[in-house]
């Protein structure tokens, strides 16, 4: 199918920047979420990794922010077609958090304050590909952007980067998270334009 929209030129404003298919360049930072922003207090915040055998490892805010952190500069791609380039974050690598945790799991379910969930293959959280981020652009991460801490998995569509994250459940078999149950793609690779199931 090759439908031409008469009189549409497009702005091609993105110049020679290479974006994933179907994406456009955004300079603001849009917010995508399904409900109210949950109040999350760092005094009671915790992050817990639970393995398939039920073993769990927990950090409170003080322990978490005492872990070695990294500065990350990365492009992000939202399934609602916008991409934002060169965003700057600070957070703890999942390699650090998963270090020493014994598991045979192939998948992880990220869980958030407010009830949001999203599923990610565990290898996509390892080897320097994912973080729990708590600063954006040099400042504490704002609540509407997922603060105090969110998952950051920038090589997948941004709904995988769960806001207000409070834990990971490691799983032997994949299950659907919140948007995935509603028809969004299980993996969500922007470069293969995996927006919806069947893509």
């Amino acid at each position: 199918m090759n439908v031409i929209s008469r009189g549409f030129g497009g702005r091609k404003r993105d110049g020679d920047v290479e974006l994933p298919p179907g994406q456009y360049l955004e300079h603001g930072f849009p917010v995508l979420q399904a409900g109210p922003t949950p109040p999350v207090n760092t005094a009671t915040w915790s992050f817990t990794i639970t393995t398939e055998t039920g073993d769990s490892t927990r950090w409170d805010w003080r322990q978490f922010t005492a872990l070695p952190a990294q500065d990350i500069t990365t492009d992000i791609h939202c399934v609602t077609q916008w991409s934002k380039l060169g965003t700057r974050w600070r957070g703890v690598s999942l390699d650090t958090l998963l270090d020493g945790i014994e598991t045979n799991a192939g998948y992880a379910m990220a869980r958030s304050y407010g009830g949001y969930t999203t599923n990610v293959p565990l290898p996509d959280l390892r080897d320097g590909k994912a973080w729990v981020a708590y600063e954006y652009d040099g400042k504490p991460l704002r609540p509407e952007h997922g603060g105090p801490a969110r998952l950051l998995v920038p090589h997948l569509y941004f709904w995988k980067s769960a806001k207000w994250v409070t834990g990971l459940d490691l799983m032997l078999r994949d299950r659907h998270g919140f948007w995935e149950q509603l028809g969004y793609h299980d993996y969500g690779d922007p470069w293969r334009e995996q927006r919806y199931q069947g893509d």
Binding site: M1, N2, V3, I4, S5, R6, G7, F8, G9, G10, R11, K12, R13, G22, Q23, Y24, E26, H27, G28, F29, P30, V31, L32, Q33, A34, G35, P36, T37, P38, T80, Q81, G114, G115, E144, H145, W179, Q181, L182, G183, Y184, Y196, Q197, G198, D199
Partner: protein, 272 residues
């Protein structure tokens, strides 16, 4: 029956503009003929793809404005000053022109006519569009649930669907409360459907039990919400759509008023 969620492979369909009509100086409704379109749930959106002569293509998501029916739907597009696609859809696209669409998308921000709960809708600017689909769908389906809409717009001239909303207020249990954020005073010649009830607000009741309220120079706050909203005890279904700042403050006000976070569904657009 439209599906409740995206399922199977969503393919691109050819859409032909059947009708274009201006809603405001910057918003236009396009009625699209889309053979093979399965219908949708009120609140869902669609991805539109425009392809230029040289093969360059751009995609954007738009909320569906119409009540569901097979093989056609309407979108209302707000022109963005620096937009790439919206100036085309609101200014150039004319009957007979074609684009591609994929959807419906989004099974969360969606209202089902079988839902028995009262319906509370909060719109900021063009966030009215998916909520208008809910109002139209309710009437089309014969649902009897009462509906209350709080609609924040910069000025009366920025209100989309004004005459249709007035007519629906006249004949159905729909209450509309307009908040004009950048018009400080009521203009002297009053619209016919309005009568004074106070210095700021004005309203009138129709035979359907609905009424129209207008507040000038007001942003949404706890008082404006309390004036119109159902109480948490009435367990309304709540949908909020608009720019991120509007949605953020509306959702916070709703939670502070005692509504359960799980009953509040939000959809946002634009950078924050």
């Amino acid at each position: 029956m439209a599906r409740t969620a995206v399922s199977g492979r969503l393919s691109w369909l050819v859409a032909t503009v059947k009708e274009a009509r201006d809603e405001t100086a910057t918003a236009r409704t396009l009625a699209l003929d889309v053979p093979g379109w399965p219908g949708h749930l009120a609140g869902q959106h669609v991805t539109a793809k425009l392809t230029a002569e040289d093969g360059y293509a751009a995609q954007r998501d738009y909320s569906i404005a119409s009540a569901p029916e097979p093989d056609r739907f309407e979108v209302t597009v707000q022109r963005l000053a620096d937009g790439e696609v919206s100036p085309y859809l609101t200014g150039v696209a004319a009957p007979g022109d074609q684009l591609e669409v994929r959807g419906p998308i989004g099974g969360w921000f969606a209202w089902q006519p079988a839902d028995p709960r009262p319906l509370l809708l909060l719109a900021g600017g063009s966030g009215i569009v998916p909520l208008m689909s809910m109002i139209r769908t309710r009437d089309q389906a014969g649902s009897q649930v009462p509906v209350r809409l709080i609609y924040s717009a910069r000025t009366p001239a920025d209100v989309i669907y004004q005459s249709e909303l007035s007519e629906r207020v006249r004949v159905s249990p729909l209450t509309v409360s307009y908040l004009y954020t950048r018009t400080a005073r009521r203009p002297p010649p009053e619209p016919r459907d309005t009568q004074d009830t106070g210095p700021q607000a004005s309203g009138t009741a129709g035979p359907g039990g609905g009424r129209i309220l207008r507040r000038y120079g007001d942003r949404l706050d706890a008082a404006a919400l309390a004036e119109v909203a159902f109480s948490p005890r009435q367990k309304p279904a709540i949908f909020v759509c608009g720019p991120s700042g509007f949605v953020e403050s509306a959702a916070d006000l709703l939670v502070a008023a005692g509504h359960l976070p799980g009953a509040i569904k939000t959809e946002r657009f634009g950078p924050s």
